[in-house]
């Protein structure tokens, strides 16, 4: 395997891992092990949530550096899991360059769950957490509607590359507005349970988990970045929910 091929495979694997929600140390460790297993003499990898920098010393003594900027980050743990087992395979077995590329392509083009299922799932999250926070059946149905609405809004805004802070403000706004409207129409009396339950769909669970795990692993830079991301998302949600509630109390509605 040539140096170019080696660095290509390692970088591709790192990029897929990082842009789909893996922890920083997992990306660094996977890439390093792949480089070493494929015959590099030394590999130094530096990863932050938006960039990968990789320096390799090849078997013949040549040096090589590659960087990759990550622009789009999402959450797709299926890819993380499959790439994780692929990198294990690369380390233990002798796979050829073409084999790895075929496998990478297969993982990258693996279909996610059907779209209607994803929308329903987020609606269901909202429904379940409305019940969880003490809502009754009627309240949970309104939660379902809000969840579906938030999912559609998030997807539309993500397509236009809106920043994550604004997406969550609008999400919180939708949740509070629909819950207020339903209360105003007399459909339910459990506005708090509905709002709390439906903003759980926006909660940055993966960012919180990964931030803590990164800090444990010693990647303070990535850990703090993700922690700030989680904090910003939380503030965004609170702001979004606060706007309609604040307006209402300002105009003496409640």
């Amino acid at each position: 395997m040539t140096g170019a091929q080696l660095s290509h495979i390692a970088m591709e694997i790192g990029v897929v891992l990082l842009s789909n929600g893996a922890e920083t140390y997992r990306v660094e460790e996977s890439m390093q092990r792949i480089c070493m297993a494929m015959g590099a003499r030394n590999a130094e990898i530096f990863v932050v949530p938006t960039t990968i920098i990789m320096g390799i010393t090849l078997a013949n003594g040549d040096h090589m550096t590659r960087t990759h900027r990550i622009h789009k980050r999402g959450i797709d743990l299926m890819k993380v899991e499959y790439i994780n087992s692929l990198s294990r395979q690369v380390c233990y077995e002798d796979l050829s360059y073409d084999d790895v590329l075929t496998e990478l392509h297969r993982i990258n083009s693996a279909p996610p769950y059907p779209y209607f299922l994803q929308v329903l799932a987020l609606g269901f999250v909202s429904l379940m957490f409305t019940l969880f926070f003490g809502g009754n059946f009627q309240a949970s149905c309104i939660g379902l509607v809000i969840g579906i609405g938030i999912k559609l809004q998030m997807d539309v805004m993500t397509r236009f590359e809106t920043n994550i802070f604004f997406i969550n403000i609008v999400g919180g706004f939708i949740a509070a507005t629909i819950a207020l409207g339903a209360t105003g129409l007399g459909l339910t009396s459990q506005m708090d349970a509905i709002i709390i339950g439906s903003i759980m769909t926006l909660v940055p669970g993966l960012a919180i988990t990964n931030s803590i795990r990164d800090i444990i692993a010693g990647d303070y830079l990535s850990g703090l970045t993700k922690g700030i991301e989680a904090l910003l998302i939380g503030t965004g949600i609170a702001t979004g929910v606060g706007i309609p509630l604040g307006l209402l109390s300002a105009f003496g509605g409640m």
């Binding site: 899991e81 709002i195 709390i196 759980m200 988990t209 444990i216």
Partner: protein, 159 residues
């Protein structure tokens, strides 16, 4: 009785749906959702013994992290897959909401109290994960010490 089991079932349902949102592979959906159930079960059971909210969250997180680390080792899967999903029912969404509501309504004292309480819960979550992950990592390192973990192919310069 139902009042104690119901939150666990709701947490299970919520975690399961979140597993779908995170696009977790089909064969692991159920196992990751069980983590959410276990966490809430711990919370509900220890409610009878411990009065402190923060301590309860801490215990629930320890259960979840332990379950996630175990499952990750058994199924050779990243721990995050189980941890992130199971942790979501414990995220203090209600605390953030009420803090915002009190501050908005001008009750600064209540807002600060609730806010600090929420912060305490978040800290409990973080510390729970840190404790379990670090202990398990330490045990794994001790057990693995002296054993090479991956094969290195024959390299030309060593001949």
């Amino acid at each position: 009785m139902m009042a104690f089991i119901a939150p666990c079932l709701y947490a299970f349902g919520g975690s399961f749906a979140f597993a779908l949102v995170f696009n977790i592979p089909k064969n692991k959906l159920l196992f990751s959702a069980i983590g959410g159930f276990l966490g809430q079960l711990t919370y509900v059971l220890f409610q009878f013994i411990i009065a402190s909210d923060v301590a309860l969250y801490f215990l629930a997180t320890i259960t979840i992290s332990f379950y996630a680390e175990m499952m990750a080792r058994v199924t050779k899967t990243p721990t995050t897959l189980y941890l992130a999903v199971a942790l979501i029912p414990l995220v203090p969404g209600g605390g953030v909401y009420y803090t915002m509501l009190y501050l908005l309504g001008g009750s600064i004292d209540l807002g600060i109290t609730t806010g600090l309480h929420t912060l305490g819960i978040s800290g409990a979550l973080a510390m729970g994960i840190v404790l379990v992950s670090s202990s398990i990592n330490l045990i794994r390192k001790v057990m693995l010490s002296g054993r090479r973990k991956y094969k290195r192919p024959a390299v030309p310069w060593k001949k």
